[in-house]
């Protein structure tokens, strides 16, 4: 590359004008074409990145900020003028039992999904990393759930977890256990919804972790074996520390997604179409609560207050997660 550069530089020192107009000499001897070229080179990058910034600004950043603004009003779609209410919506939110319930539900479902999911995903990645036959076949198969839409998933699992006819209760009964009321029992419903989340995402995360595992140089393992490290020692002292960045990535993305869970609880409802998240809001999540406030009751200011609160919550929890993951994954690692 360096050669090419000097070559072009040489070309430009010759009397005939270079095609690229890269000569450092005065601007006066540039033809119109050269000037156009120069403008092209300078401005093109900005044109290329502009679509992202325009679209993100208009439909991502601006609405998010504007949500904070709307949350200060009693917003009525039909009214000409919106009534400013200050922090009233937030006050209502804090006093609302439904909000606190939704918050606890969200965090409970999030913990029930993210924790087990990560452990299983790492285990699955280890299995897929082994010297197995039909390797690609297995890898493709574990990704199948990821392809299924959340709506289809919600419908299927809501049926599987049905009280009277659900297959899971049938199986429980077959083995002599009591039927569990997956829809009305609060904790059971959280387990059921977390199961959907885990079913869909474990294989996907396992493949991401697998990719990181394969990037670990194999001679590190050989060295560990020579040093007398058993498989568990190898896993915790070699694999885990080197997986740290990937685990952080997976945890952060599952935090952001997990706290916004909407489709699963919406379709899990035993009264279809309902946004209550169960007769007693036992599995209503915050995003479902926001949807209900905004698009069932059209209380848009209140819904915005919910959205903005959830946004802050996500930021805080993502940060906490980041710190914890960093610490956990770095135990046993000698600082390099």
């Amino acid at each position: 590359m360096a050669d090419l550069r000097s070559e072009t530089a040489e070309v430009s020192r010759k009397p005939s004008p270079p095609p690229g107009g890269r000569s450092g000499s005065g601007k006066n001897d540039l033809t119109l074409r050269q000037r156009l070229y120069r403008f092209d080179v300078k401005s093109a990058p900005y044109f290329y990145i502009a679509p992202f910034f325009i679209v993100f600004g208009l439909v991502g950043l601006f609405p998010l900020l504007f949500t904070a603004y709307v949350s200060l009003f009693d917003w009525d779609m039909l009214a000409d003028e919106q009534q400013f209410v200050g922090l009233d919506n937030y006050a209502r939110l804090i006093e609302s039992d439904q909000f606190w319930k939704a918050l606890v539900n969200t965090i409970s479902i999030f913990l029930l999904s993210t924790g087990p999911q990560l452990v299983i995903a790492v285990l699955l990645a280890v299995l897929l990393d082994a010297r197995i036959r039909a390797r690609t076949g297995f890898r493709v198969s574990v990704l199948i759930p990821y392809v299924v839409s959340l709506v289809a998933l919600g419908i299927i699992f809501s049926n599987l977890f049905g009280h009277n006819y659900g297959l899971i209760n049938n199986v429980l009964e077959f083995f002599g256990f009591d039927r569990i009321n997956w829809h009305s029992d609060r904790f059971a419903s959280h387990v059921a919804i977390a199961t959907m989340v885990n079913w869909r995402w474990t294989g996907y995360n396992a493949l991401i972790i697998l990719a990181a595992m394969q990037a670990i140089p194999r001679d590190l393992y050989e060295a560990a074996v020579v040093d007398g490290a058993g498989p568990f020692r190898r896993f915790f002292s070699v694999t885990m520390p080197l997986l740290r960045p990937t685990l952080i990535f997976v945890v952060i993305t599952s935090t952001i997604g997990g706290l916004q869970i909407f489709t699963e609880p919406k379709l899990f409802s035993d009264i279809p179409g309902s946004n209550n998240g169960g007769s007693d809001n036992q599995f209503q999540t915050i995003t479902l609560f926001m949807y209900q406030a905004g698009f069932e009751r059209f209380d848009l200011g209140y819904a915005s207050a919910i959205a903005w609160t959830l946004f802050l919550l996500i930021v805080v929890i993502a940060l906490i997660n980041f710190l914890i993951t960093r610490r956990i994954a770095s135990t046993g690692e000698e600082r390099r």
Binding site: Y48, F56, G60, S141, I144, I155, I156, I248, Q260, G294
Partner: protein, 296 residues
């Protein structure tokens, strides 16, 4: 980890095709590995298989304690009923239009911006790219209320444009293409194009795009699947008369939930196209995931 028990260096069988990737010091997996993997695969496929079973029998099969393991003969009649009950053809067409437009746009603009960040020098490129990466973590879904207010005031409510426009470019697309092009696009080629007096956009079209093709294909697939499965925003902004597949499915479930066979025939119909796409391209996706495409 539980399976790769005690290292048995001298006894390990070495296969020429696989030996390179894995340390020969680590023993070959035994049946426990296969057992667990098989259990995973069965668990992954079973809910789909079960829903197909119910869709192809009558709704009463759900009452049987042990469901039949083989499909019945009624899938097509239930599928026909789905098309009669909700505007499913329209929904399929709409989803196809939305997902295709979004995919083409995300790939094109993602590649353009990714190329600019990967190879072009311009003022502020570092900071702007850092901004793109930071936006990956922004839950833009939470901005739907102002977005809804805006769409309604522009009269876009109920129209496909309302679902397409917000998804035309994604931070992930830009990030992904940039990461790929940084490694894959040789400086020499760009230099040669420059020496030949190629305009910037022609360079992009004739030099960058062909090289970006593998990563663009993967991005396209993921975008297509994501767009096809998108639910919250379409549910908010579209109505039951002009739905996407997911919105139609939700309507089907809301209206006919006790008719298990009908509803599950709907989910099967909605899953088949995307499953086909996946089966055809799945190997590529997986190969790419496992190549360390995500570098954390």
């Amino acid at each position: 980890m539980s399976t790769q028990t005690a290292p048995r260096p001298p006894r390990t069988r070495r296969r020429a095709s696989e030996g390179g990737e894995h340390a020969s010091l680590i023993s070959r997996p035994r049946f426990l590995t296969y057992g667990l993997l098989l259990a995973f695969v069965l668990g992954s496929v079973f809910p789909l298989w079960w829903s197909f079973i119910v869709a192809s029998h009558e709704s009463s099969v759900v009452r049987e304690r042990i469901p039949p393991l083989l499909p019945g003969a009624n899938f097509f009649s239930h599928a026909a009923e789905v098309f009669d009950t909700v505007p499913f053809w329209l929904a399929l067409g709409n989803s196809l239009i939305v997902a295709t437009t979004v995919t083409v746009s995300v790939v094109l603009f993602g590649t353009l911006a990714g190329y600019a960040f990967a190879r072009l020098r311009f003022r502020g490129s570092g900071a702007l790219f850092a901004f793109v990466v930071a936006t990956l973590a922004v839950p833009t879904q939470l901005g739907i209320i102002p977005l809804y207010i805006a769409m309604t005031s522009y009269g876009w409510q109920g129209q496909l444009a309302a679902v397409i426009v917000p998804n035309l470019v994604t931070a992930f697309g830009v990030f992904w293409m940039r990461q790929y092009l940084v490694g894959a696009l040789p400086h020499e080629l760009l230099e040669a194009a420059r020496v030949d007096g190629c305009s910037m956009i022609r360079t992009f079209w004739h030099v960058v795009l062909p090289i970006a093709r593998p990563a663009a294909a993967i991005l396209g697939l993921f975008t297509f699947m994501h767009s096809w499965n998108d639910f919250l925003w379409p549910l908010v902004v579209l109505d039951a008369q002009n739905p996407t597949v997911q919105v139609a499915l939700e309507r089907l479930q809301a209206g006919y939930y006790t008719n298990y066979s009908l509803v599950l025939a709907g989910t099967t119909l909605a899953t088949i196209p995307i499953l086909l796409v996946f089966v055809i391209f799945g190997k590529q996706i997986v190969a790419n995931i496992a190549q360390g495409a995500v570098k954390g």
